[in-house]
Symmetry: C2
């Protein structure tokens, strides 16, 4: 049975090339349950791969031919081979996080073959601390990062003794615990579709004319509430297909402490950490621009604010352009400036027309699709330097068949002109930072972790906590 | 700089699809040198990947577009990324040969992406016996199995103390020890091109008319010296892209002992082992045909015999169709029948015209290319059931920067109608069998190893050695 591919997904398939693989990834770390035997990881792999039925989403592959009029359609994979999609891997010695991140970078830099369903999962052993890792990659035409996290959470449980839990790709979803019951705090975003945040860009892709018109008006009028411009930096270059991934987490309590002492939010502190880290990183490379870096930050909108049909009365995602204040040397002043910029942006958002919100959001959510449209309108200068998003995850400790999820880190999609992506995700009292970059355009990506850590310390010092 | 792709290579690119990846593979096992530290495998990986210049063969990728008139051409990869091609991997616990073969099967079942140069090498640690493995895959459009083995041998040395030896893909080859000096016994085949054995099919692909005419005449006239037909078996079906690989070696001395006692050659004993193993395997599955299985066996031809221009006065490869006598229950009678069939085939070959030899050889060397041509001529029944080839390797112990090569196993290309391929290679007193099959069409492929071992015992018993 052949089914149509929606315009956004088609956009991702067309935008993809060897330099820009269009898949999102996730890295999870699990702690083995007590009493786990030597063959535990193999058992876990078998539970992940030896399943009765795979969910339709994970069985379809894109196809186009003369008979489909050159259009992409979804087709079930008649030769579906679970052993191709779910893999048991191991890390080289000494099995540090470094080796794990290297493997993830390598896996994330290779495109998914379109002749098969567009996903892969690797159950990875060999971490010297005994934890088990799982790296998954799924094409953006199937799922977005927020939905991928939601899908994972839907197969987890807060009960360490629960067993018989399915793999995220197993069907039918009816046998799964409902999201409401198991993880009510998971996220304020709705679960209508697996590409929720992109419902918005599906529309955007359907009406590029009006969208680009609104957007370019805002971009050109630098004094309006929509005004945004960003300096060119080394991360705003053409990229290659090579990837580097860096990830680390910090206790949310530390971020909250700074927020409380300074009257800012946890998200402001996340942005301030990124800002300070980017400043230190670019200074070290002698590449810090005089003007501040601008970050696109996706934010949740309520229904009245958004008035967007695709949100179906639920919540939608908008985008705020935040001035990161990387031109200010003082951490406290940077944080204050970011807080103001974020507040201004949210206020501007609330005074925008639905079409303007749509335009802003689309710009953030699907830059790879929109970039060519913008170029046609003569908008070449990047309106922002990087995307920093913060995806809420489960707040309490979760388990998969007794294995405790101890960390979860998102891998995102660098694109031409935007060689670095920072995606944060909160889980069980920790804020995890996932940095995905083009290995050639963003040198020494892992140094940003040290800078993030330093900056957290500087912010604490400045806040007196 | 864009260069033309020869017709055979183009044939392999066109014949390739998701069910039939067209790459050959090699698995090598190395013993670490004495005193090797904990980081030895990483050092070896770095020696393999941290190289000054990559040979042009490994830098080009196939490309076609409207501007090339839809023709495939070679193009240098402007974004060449050695980290994509040379990888450091590890085996899951318990790190037995079984886990290694599973990994090789998985790697061998995935197509090489055409947007990059068509090769990959994996330096693999984690074997519990401490050995280091290397799996390489290279597209058949670049290299054939014999040449791949030759290329590997060209960077090895008989001197365990020698260091500074290059990776097989490093340039320039001028710095390499010449084949004559280092491995004079390696093989009787010439090194004119990297696809030597395929020089022949390059011609074949260039003149399909005459070729198919000669071939189909021979195939139809079952009483002629060219006559060949084979029963249908479970391995002669349409295949999928899933792969299983099994490999093991036995001392050549044991094979030679049987040969001496029975007046047969080592190659006859190899074929008898395969025959007995296939018989036992098919019996177990209740799928043994009444008629004997027929194997295509490539043999070396001298210049006078072949008279083929492409051989450039050197040697060329011909093909003999050997009746494997799988209908006979007695091992001794099977070996005798194989010996006769091989002798008949070689005699027939010597009485053939160059065109007939060319036809036979092409049939064996590039079945994936020829199959469509044959079908056009109404030849649907498989002329043979499987290919069993025996590629000579170095006879003495060889080293790579002090690491002793202790085993080398070839992975070949199953195609539609030919779901199993057996390729043997001799090295340092051992005969290695590499069995590559479609995982779905050839169930329990690894059982063939037990059957091969049993059959060797039966043959010894029958020969009274």
């Amino acid at each position: 049975m052949v089914t149509a591919i929606d315009p956004t997904a088609t956009g991702f398939l067309f935008a993809e090339n060897r330099s820009m693989p269009m898949h999102v990834g996730g890295l999870q770390l699990f702690k083995k349950p007590e009493g786990a035997g030597r063959g535990y990881v193999r058992e876990m792999f078998e539970q992940m791969s030896d399943i009765d039925e795979v969910a339709p989403l994970f069985l379809k592959r894109p196809h186009r031919s003369v008979r489909t009029g050159g259009q992409w359609v979804w087709r079930p994979d008649e030769q579906f081979d679970i052993e191709h999609h779910v893999r048991h891997s191991a890390l080289p010695k000494p099995g540090r996080i470094r080796e794990l991140l290297e493997l993830c970078g390598r896996l994330h830099g290779t495109r998914l073959a379109r002749e098969r369903p567009l996903w892969e999962a690797h159950v990875i052993e060999g971490l010297r601390d005994g934890r088990v890792a799982m790296y998954t990659k799924t094409h953006h035409a199937l799922i977005d990062g927020v939905s991928a996290m939601r899908l994972l959470a839907s197969v987890l449980s807060t009960d360490p003794d629960k067993r018989g839990m399915p793999a995220p790709w197993a069907a039918p979803p009816t046998s799964r615990p409902s999201r409401e019951r198991e993880a009510p705090e998971l996220s304020e975003l709705p679960v209508q579709a697996l590409r929720t945040a992109l419902g918005i860009t599906a529309e955007a892709a359907g009406m590029p004319g009006a969208l680009v018109k609104t957007l370019s008006k805002g971009l050109r009028n630098e004094t309006s509430a929509l005004s945004l411009y960003a300096p060119r930096t080394i991360i705003n270059q053409k990229i290659t297909g090579s990837r580097r991934f860096a990830a680390q987490d910090w206790p949310i309590e530390r971020l909250r402490g700074i927020g409380k002492a300074t009257g800012t939010t946890v998200n402001d502190v996340v942005l301030a950490m990124c800002s300070g880290a980017m400043r230190a990183y670019l200074l070290e490379l002698d590449a810090l621009p005089d003007q501040t870096l601008v970050s696109m930050v996706p934010v949740g909108l309520n229904a009245t604010q958004s008035q967007i049909a695709s949100a179906e009365g639920g919540n939608a995602v908008g985008a705020v352009m935040v001035q990161l204040a990387t031109d200010l040397p003082d951490p406290a002043r940077r944080l204050a400036a970011i807080h103001r910029s974020m507040k201004d942006g949210k206020e501007a958002l609330s005074s925008m027309t639905p079409m303007q919100i749509l335009a802003m959001s689309a710009l953030g959510q699907a830059p790879a699709i929109l970039a060519p449209m913008l170029r046609m309108q003569g908008i070449v200068r990047p309106p922002y330097n990087l995307i920093i998003s913060n995806v809420p995850g489960p707040r309490s400790t979760h388990y998969w068949n007794g294995a405790q999820l101890v960390g979860t880190y998102p891998l995102s999609i660098p694109i031409n002109g935007m060689a670095l992506n920072i995606t944060c995700t909160s889980y069980d009292g920790h804020m995890a930072f996932g940095l995905t970059g083009c290995r050639r355009t963003v040198p020494h990506l892992q140094r940003l972790l040290t800078h993030l850590d330093d900056e957290l310390g500087h912010l604490e010092q400045a806040a007196g906590v």
